[in-house]
Amino acid sequence: MSQAYQQEQKQEQIQTQQQEVQQEQVVRQTAPEQEEVRQQAAQDQALNAQLTTVVHQQLPPAQAVQAAHGAPVQEELPSPTGYKARRREKKHAKIARKACPVGTAITYDLVEGARLSKERKALSARECPQMQTCSSYDRRVLMSFCKGYQKGKLGGMSAQDKANKAADHQLFTDYLTGNLERRRPHLDNMVKELLAIRFTPDMLTVRNVRRNMARYRDIVDKFYAMNDIMKDPVNVPYFNAMDPMTRQALEAAFPLSLAFSAALFTLSNKYGCDLDKGEYISHVQEQNIHQANATLPEFLTDYRQAQAGHQQEEERQIRQSGGDYAARVKQNEDLLRQALADSGVTLALAERRAPWMVKGAALLQVGEEHREENAAVVKMLVQFHQAPGGVPPKDVYYQVKDRLTPRVQRILDCDVNALAALPDSALILHAAELNQMLLDVEMLAELMGTRHHTATPAQTAYLTLGDDLIRYKGPEYAYQASMIQALAQRARALAVGYMTKHGGADAACFIQEEQPLAGGIPAWTERQLAASSQQMEESRTRLQNSAIVGHPEYEERLAQGVKIGKNMANLMDDPLTRVTWEYERSQAPEAQAVRQRLQDENYYSLNYTPQELEARGLPANLSESLFRRFGAFLQSRAAQALLTPETLREMLENLAAGAGLHRTAPMGQDPNEDALKEASQRNAAGMAQLRQVLSAHFRYLERKYGDQLMFLTPEELAEHQADLDADFAFSQVALKLMDNYPDFFAQEIQDLDELHFRNRLQYYASVGKSVKDMYTILRTAQNREEALTRMKEYWQIAESTPDYAQAYQAIRARHPGFAHPVRWNQGVQ
């Protein structure tokens, strides 16, 4: 080793040590300010977390099946900054200045953005046991694609963070098995995530980098990681089998991501942020800043050129998309002709052109190496379709089924709602994959009507291959297939429209059956766009009217992109939920009446006019619907134990009697007296059933919680949250019934049971409602001690209110078994 080399090495070591010392000094120097700013940020976070908790308690999640057109236009202009924001900026600038020679508020934001993204993911990786033993290579790859989460000082997490944690751990666990099948759904998501990233020319303006540093850092990490993922031997078959268009789109994004990454790192350096480490560039490393200053214009130009190139590539894709469908159809025709010739099968011309054969060609594969297999597929199709009595032999049946199953799955897995929500400019880019699926949908429609191999030719009602393939997912499959047809139609029309406008649309864009086009290409495009919108609308309406969908939980799952069929099947296993679904979805008049009276309107009595109620000091109605969500009521163990589908149906219909009727005059004087009387009697019967369930429910609560509800520890609250949620979900309505509904209690207390029921309801519903607030305290408290203090203060205030004191005194005085420790495992009696 030469002396010069040794000296160089030594010099480098000294420099590194100097940098480390400098970095430590920076950390020490800025620690108090950093702490102050972070505390302020943490307080703001906690305050806002408290607000979101309130929001989640008081409002339902936003659920929709489609989005209206429109988006806010953001102008690149300074936005007004208030006094607080300016004060904050000054503080940030002060911290950054101490740490870095060019430190400003921008540097601060960049460093914090980079740090934030890193910290959330690091926590996720730290807490997953599988990640502790995996290689650093896998660790880096997985951390790039995990969502990350954060915790309060007490360990509390928001619902979103909990969901992120579960998703991350699932990703880590599945991926680290090294099993491609376990990895596959995650790989799908990863690819989807990358393809959804849009690189725009304005992404690297200082303003945008400053605002979006955490997101940009994620983008860079993901592309780096994807590069490794694609090379992983376990994953290679996945990427080899990938739809060529998708793979092409993915590969096309890499050079752009590299240019973006290089420019982003240089820009960060220029402003004093070491993006890799999420740290400030200290005075010792100042040469990095100078270097970045000199090279940034070049990197920015590279990025802009790469972005422009990418845009041109997208344009090329759009042009290709216009003729893609016609090209695929023609390709299938050629493949079929070849396969028929290779197979030696002789068919009449009509059969060669029969839809089952023409559409069945979607099963054939391109390439000389597949000729033999294609010939076998054609033979299989002929045997399948020409079977005696229309019942295919078992072995042929399963051959066809095996080939169709993955295609059905692909159609079910397609996130059609996300595609439908895309702006037209993005939908065009999915034309190729949609065309492929459209051909599958058409092929499946032709083949799925064939009889199951166990059917007999004489049967008039029989199971089909479709029933076998789709099973309980019928409405979902119909919806998915119809949406894919409409989306493919739209994407194709958009691409043809683009080509018409910019030159290039011609007869090659259309299949033979479509020609000649009435009114020319522009008219065809308009017709296709209108038809696709209409078909999507109709598909949604059909889905909404279907018996099993439209339930809030279904919509939630749909929005989350979770496989519906399996989960819905689990949910549908609950017979009581099935009853309420029918009421929520059916268009039958009885169901509509139930919805109107029990869900849409505040519940009211038919025995009194609003004036009579006012005279008694009561509001005109319950101030609440009786069952805003049936689920809240069905969570109660008493409801689950005491009600059968029949009694639940009876109770709901009784309670809903009189929908649309209102008492306008005192009893005996109303023009609708007879109808009112009859409905009121049924309401009373329904209310009696409801009281019976509630009575059992509150007896169960007394046995379970005794007088200990206010003394639950943070740990108990955390451990039994599901229990507490279910037990007190209906508390609010129960209290409203007690306070505002004149017919809920009999005028006179007839017996001890009645008295106990009232006491229990008043006490547990009031206190239980407050238990929910404990979770807010747990989420926002800085540590356990603070949580305990705040919980104690809360209960002290609650205890001092007259309502609470009265409820407590009543139950304390008359229920000898009231004081006991919590017994978590109680059943309903």
């Binding site: 806010p72 953001q74 936005s79 007004p80 002060k94 605002r211």
Partner: protein
């Protein structure tokens, strides 16, 4: 119309209605309060808000799709946010810059909901080079005045030194160093004293057709009009008359100057505020 909350799980359908900042915050899982507006099963708008300390709930993003306007959706979003903030903060506020015709409806909208215009320290004005040419300050002047010189003629080290000095003193706000590519080096000007800029006006360019007067530092009272005359005259030489010019005033001095340059033009930055417990129609 009805509202519900948005988080990461149902973000895709409401994404297009949110400003990028809010969208990114929700994607990161930040506790930003976000509401989606729906008519039937169609998502048609959204709003987000952030509690800024314990006194103000700031609306960060508010949008209703064009086909669904004038049906009470915006009112519902704002009133719901206010109702949710009750007990956690005192007032609800919204600040925006009025740059598009559709923004003109916002001031009457907020006023109808009981909001009051808020006094701001910083105002943003938007005009065009053509309008500036008609301003009393520039009339009868086609040549740049003598004295101020463009940044391209000032040494880079002097510009860096000025920026560092200002940043160290925590002076006002300049988002970018004076040597940043976004600073228009042809139009930005300085008046030198012993080789160092004594006063300077910085213009940044966000797009080919838009510049912002980002920062003005004036050591002597006469420097200010001189520099502005010079900067805008240079700008007129190199840009089309339709080029838009945004000016942000940061103190009384710059506000007075704007009044002199463009008499009768009011700022396009607006801020409205009202107590959360306002009774007009705010209910969940």
């Amino acid at each position: 119309m009805h509202v519900g909350w948005i988080d990461q799980s149902n973000l895709p359908l409401f994404r297009t209605f949110l400003l990028p900042d809010s969208e990114a915050a929700l994607e990161r899982g930040e506790p930003l309060t976000a509401l989606g507006l729906m008519k039937g099963e169609v998502a048609c708008g959204a709003a987000t808000a952030w509690l800024d300390g314990q006194d103000t709930l700031s609306i960060r993003s508010l949008y209703v799709a064009p086909d669904y306007r004038r049906q009470g959706g915006g009112r519902l979003l704002v009133n719901t946010l206010a109702a949710l903030g009750t007990g956690l903060c005192g007032s609800i506020q919204c600040g925006y810059t009025q740059t598009l015709p559709e923004h003109e409806a916002l001031a009457p909208f907020f006023t109808a909901l009981g909001f009051q215009p808020e006094e701001e320290e910083s105002g943003i004005y938007l005009t065009t080079l053509k309008e500036l040419a008609d301003s009393p300050l520039f009339q009868n002047r086609t040549e740049p005045p003598k004295g101020p010189i463009p940044f391209v003629q000032v040494s880079t080290s002097a510009l860096v030194a000025v920026y560092k000095k200002a940043a160290a003193a925590g002076e006002n706000y300049l988002e970018v160093p004076l040597t940043d590519p976004s600073v228009d080096q042809q139009a930005s000007v300085a008046i030198l004293e012993q080789g160092m800029p004594r006063s300077f006006a910085v213009l940044t360019r966000q797009a080919p057709d838009q510049v912002t007067l980002a920062w003005v530092k004036s050591a002597q009272p006469n420097d200010l009009p001189l520099m502005l005359q010079s900067a805008f005259a240079r700008l007129r030489e190199i840009s089309a008359p339709e080029t838009r010019v945004a000016v942000q005033t940061v103190d009384d001095q710059t506000a007075q100057l704007m009044a002199a340059i463009l008499p009768g033009v009011s700022p396009i930055s607006r801020s409205f505020i009202r107590p959360v417990e306002y009774k007009e129609g705010g209910s969940l």
